[in-house]
């Protein structure tokens, strides 16, 4: 029987088990690394995502901070970019993400991993009609691809090239 936050903890534990199992079997997503931020709470997670190829985010690694309420998974998690990113649907200062599946299109059948995949898809496919970053939105809407691309690329180089991808570390651990 679910009692308030028990449901959230139970579900998040299952998500963690599923991620760990995938890691053991070498079946993890190659461009998403997702784990609880600390061992003290399952409600707060950190994700690293690799900027998709053929986008101005390529080569960058972006850190996301994920917070689940006690009503998760009935309510969506809150996802915020910790790494500065120039994108029409991400707030430039605060890192808030505007994505329908994290609002009213959320379904409990989604998990944190699929939410991260949706954020990745958003990086490849910005929606200029619901901008949180007007500058980026206007560039895309006006068809000024060059301006958008170079600005986004500049911020990627400036902010997203310092985070090491953790998979190698895991691979080493596994060998030893």
């Amino acid at each position: 029987m679910m009692r308030n936050n028990l449901g959230a903890a139970k579900r998040l534990r299952k998500e963690l088990q599923s991620l760990e199992k995938a890691a053991r079997n070498d079946e993890s997503d190659t461009d998403i690394y997702l784990r609880p931020t600390s061992s003290s709470s399952l409600l707060h997670w950190t994700a690293l995502i690799k900027g998709p190829i053929d986008t101005p985010y390529e080569g960058g690694v972006f850190r996301l901070s994920i917070l689940c309420g006690t009503d998760y998974p009935l309510a969506p998690p809150t996802i915020v970019f910790d790494t500065k990113v120039f994108h029409p649907n991400v707030h430039f200062g605060k890192g808030d993400v505007c994505l329908d599946i994290l609002k009213k299109e959320w379904s409990p059948a989604w998990g944190l991993l699929s939410a991260c995949r949706a954020v990745l898809a958003l990086l490849s496919d910005p929606d200029a009609d619901s901008p949180l970053n007007c500058d980026a939105g206007n560039m895309v809407r006006a068809g000024d691809k060059l301006a958008y691309w170079t600005t986004a690329e500049m911020y990627t180089l400036e902010n997203a090239f310092f985070i090491a991808w953790p998979t190698e570390e895991i691979a080493i651990k596994k060998k030893s």
Partner: protein, 317 residues
């Protein structure tokens, strides 16, 4: 300078976005604090009173009269009404409550019959228990949905246990004390289904999945209805209109859920169009045809009656 200017616009937009978000949340909180998930049983006369009280409002007169006429018609046909919270989940919640209530009260009525094996309860419970497997075959990850399934199975276990426990406790001095424990058991079910962020929400969402699973496994049957709503395939319809909590439900979802459970759903449509000479209200029945291989015949199948008013469902008795 241009940088500062655009920064301001950005902030305004961000604030607007937060504002609508905050407004929506305020409305949600208001609904949550003022409406229980499912109300106590109310006399049907509250319906007539509601439309009488609105007499002075500005709504189109004809329509207003239509509602008042419909209300008085329903007052003659039904005895009670149970209101369901208007949070977009009302159809699923009404279905869940009415079905569980029917099944439990039936078991309580027959608990002293020696030969009653309650085939209908077993049929519905089996539908629930077996559902996880075939829903997963429609492409859902078991670990993301199994706890919702468990909660619905738990609810059926509760109905089964509660209705058999009371019968064994009595026994000694039955006739006299019989009515009270039954009421207690019904009250237990009521409290269980009114707990916030618990059984009702979890089961409600699982029933959304059952609708999605039902539609995905019979796409040809449901496709014509969703084409009308500008969707080209069952998959995208389900992910936008069925799976998210709080998404209101149309005819397709109603018939899919009724057919999935093999439960008959009668709906009285109160939409203000009942004319002066109207004898009765528009009235639709879903899930009436029985074509599965169960041995429970049509007359013994669970049947529930709901009241539809634009955008909302309540339960009728």
């Amino acid at each position: 300078m241009p940088d500062d200017f655009s920064g301001t616009v950005d902030d305004i937009l961000q604030n607007e976005h937060l504002l609508t978000q905050a407004q929506l949340e305020a409305i949600e909180r208001e609904i949550k604090s003022s409406q229980p998930l499912t109300s106590h049983l109310l006399p049907i006369s509250v319906l007539a009173q509601q439309y009488k009280a609105d007499d002075t409002s500005n709504i189109n007169d004809d329509e207003q009269c239509g509602f008042a006429r419909a209300a008085s018609f329903l007052c003659g046909k039904y005895a009670s009404l149970r209101k369901v919270r208007g949070d977009g989940n009302c159809f699923y919640r009404a279905f869940l409550y009415a079905m569980c209530e029917r099944l439990l009260s039936r078991r309580l009525d027959h608990r002293n019959d020696d030969d009653d094996d309650d085939a209908e309860f077993r049929r519905v419970k089996r539908t629930v228990v077996d559902s996880l497997k075939w829903i997963c075959r429609q492409g859902y990850d078991e670990y993301t949905i199994d706890m919702f399934h468990e909660e619905l199975v738990d609810l059926f276990d509760f109905i089964e246990r509660a209705s058999s426990e009371t019968s064994s406790k009595e026994g000694i001095d039955d006739d006299h004390t019989k009515a009270v424990p039954s009421e207690n058991v019904m009250q237990q079910l009521h409290s269980k289904l009114n707990e916030e962020h618990a059984a009702s929400d979890y089961c409600t969402w699982f029933m959304r999945l059952m609708v999605a699973g039902q539609m995905k496994s019979n796409p040809d049957r449901y496709l014509p209805y969703i084409l009308v709503e500008n969707y080209n395939d069952v998959h995208s319809f389900c992910s936008r209109e069925v799976e998210p909590m709080g998404k209101e439900c149309g005819m397709v979802q109603v018939s899919a859920l009724a057919e999935c459970f093999g439960v008959r759903v009668v709906i009285e449509y109160m939409d203000g169009r009942m004319g002066l000479g109207g004898e009765r209200l528009a009235h639709h029945v879903f899930g009436g045809e029985v074509d599965d291989d169960s041995d429970v015949n049509k007359e013994e199948r669970t049947s529930i009656t709901l009241l539809y008013r634009p955008g909302h469902y309540d339960i009728l008795y």
